[in-house]
């Protein structure tokens, strides 16, 4: 179980410098969540926390004996946890919200409402980005197919960037935008079961 005391011990194991240790912890936790998502484990955050708890339990031995990159130890624990997650998901009923879906006419109405909330949040969040980021995303997401490839190449040239660097810039702007939109949807009380329905 992660307490402030065990958290400090974990940080100390990750790195002697507390700030670097914090960055390493944040990266490991965030990456674990995403790995569990890609392994199709439903509650990825809970599984990532479970991995951290298991590592923390072993800290006294690790601090004394473990040699090597701590991130790789986390991975070993994560692999075992992922196997458990797969076993659980195949043997148990899937969790709601799909168990008792609302009637079709109510669902359509809710879907429209959610869709218009998403549109509103997207516009609102775009308006709140820095001007350069807003312009970048608008131009980056405008085209499809060959036009998209040409437009991205032209945009990179205009900004004096290699294509890879342009992609990184877009990714950073997207990360801010996505966080804003998810936050906005939560604030506006968007129905989670509709919001993430598969299309």
């Amino acid at each position: 179980m992660l307490t402030s005391e065990t958290f400090e011990r974990l940080l100390a194991w990750l790195d002697a410098d507390r700030e670097r240790a914090g960055e390493k912890y944040r990266h490991i936790h965030r990456t674990l969540i995403q790995i569990f998502v890609w392994k199709r484990c439903m509650d990825a955050e809970a599984w990532a926390d479970e991995v951290v708890d298991r590592v923390v339990e072993k800290l006294p031995e690790l601090a004394a004996d473990y040699k090597g990159n701590p991130a790789l130890y986390f991975y070993g624990v994560a692999k075992r946890a992922a196997n458990e997650c797969r076993r659980e998901q195949f043997t148990h009923e899937p969790l709601s919200p799909t168990l008792n879906p609302p009637a079709p006419e109510i669902r359509d109405e809710e879907e429209e409402k959610t869709s218009s909330t998403l549109t509103e949040c997207t516009a609102g969040c775009m308006a709140r980005l820095m001007r350069a980021e807003r312009k970048l995303l608008r131009r980056y997401y405008r085209w499809r197919g060959q036009k998209k490839i040409d437009a991205h190449r032209d945009l990179a040239k205009e900004l004096g960037l290699k294509p890879g660097a342009l992609r990184v810039k877009v990714h950073r702007a997207r990360a801010k935008l996505d966080e804003c939109i998810i936050d906005c949807m939560q604030r506006k009380g968007a129905d989670e079961t509709i919001w993430w329905k598969k299309t």
Binding site: R18, E19, G22, E23, H27, I28, R30, T31, L32, Q34, I35, V37, W38, R40, C41, M42, A71, L72, F74, Y75, A78, K79, L118, T119, E120, T122, A123, G124, M126, A127, R128, M130, L137, R138, R139, Y140, Y141, R142, R144, G145, K148, I149, H152, P163, R167, V168, V170, H171, R174, L177, C180, I181, I182, C184, R187, W195, W196, K197, K198, T199
Partner: protein, 273 residues
């Protein structure tokens, strides 16, 4: 699909569930190397874009559905990518995105919807599309000239120390409570910079769960009693009772951004009126 290098192709196969034992090498590397993890996320973003823009073959779409849309978090990514595509496709001129989006779907329905929107009044749509007036006022109050002027009689000033540095530290530790006197027009917060020496700062004010965050760009630090502080002026009407947080991102001379360096939490007490 845009040209990919060998690494990107491998990552794409990983994400689409097409790698065998090599998966473990990719996953280990993601945990050990933050830059590599970012590159994986970028490839994933590209996959979402290809899916949304219809730039994928049928077998690829099937793989994508099976491997990348298996959780609420992932489907949110998809829905946001779609929303962004609609927004970008329709914003050929400022403020027109919603018109374009409607017209491209159902012409008659769009015409009726447009008429209804105009009848209901365009102020709400205008308000939504235009910059928040509070942000305009924040920009004006925190411009170079305004900051360097002496505070007026209706300004309430306080000093805050950072509660979190680069995301570390307890959020509510030593949270200051501000009692803003009635009649105050502007709250001037001096943010202690704890040794950070960025050229200027972008400031984000988060005001509880229900309000939009507000942003101020390019605020410059000043010296006070031998230490650097960041003076931030906020219209007092923006600070309703309850918890608030100011987050600073440092801006270097070359314009590069060092995000979320310092955070300051505070609480505004009761009713100012």
């Amino acid at each position: 699909m845009e040209e990919l290098d060998d690494e990107q192709r491998l990552i794409r196969r990983y994400l689409m569930g097409q790698l065998g034992p090599e998966r473990e090498r990719v996953e280990e590397r993601m945990l050990a190397d933050p830059d590599y993890f970012d590159r994986v996320l970028i490839v994933e973003e590209g996959l979402f874009e290809d899916f949304v823009f219809g730039d994928m073959s049928a077998p690829e779409r099937e793989s994508f559905n099976e491997h990348l849309l298996s959780s609420p978090r992932q489907v949110k990514k998809l829905e946001i990518t779609k929303a962004l595509k609609n927004y970008a496709g329709a914003t050929r001129r400022p403020g027109a995105w919603w018109i374009g989006s409607l017209m491209s779907e159902h012409k008659l329905g769009a015409a009726l919807a447009l008429a209804a929107l105009l009848l209901l009044g365009s102020f709400a749509a205008y308000r939504m599309l235009m910059r928040d007036p509070l942000e305009t006022e924040l920009a004006r109050l925190n411009s170079r000239d305004a900051i360097s002027a002496q505070p007026g009689p209706s300004v309430y000033a306080e000093t805050l120390t950072a509660s979190r540095f680069r995301g570390l530290g307890a959020r509510n530790d030593g949270e200051k409570e501000l009692t803003i006197p009635p009649g105050t027009e502007v709250v001037l917060l001096h943010l202690a910079l704890s040794g950070d020496d960025s050229e200027s700062y972008n400031v984000t004010l988060t005001r509880g769960a229900k309000e939009w965050p507000l942003h101020i760009e390019g605020v410059r630090p000043v010296s006070a009693d031998g230490a650097k502080v960041l003076p931030v002026k906020i219209p007092s009407r923006a600070l309703t009772a309850g918890p608030h947080e100011l987050t600073l991102s440092g801006v270097a001379l070359d314009g590069s951004l060092d995000e979320n360096i310092l955070s300051y939490t505070f609480r505004v007490a009761g009713d100012k009126k």
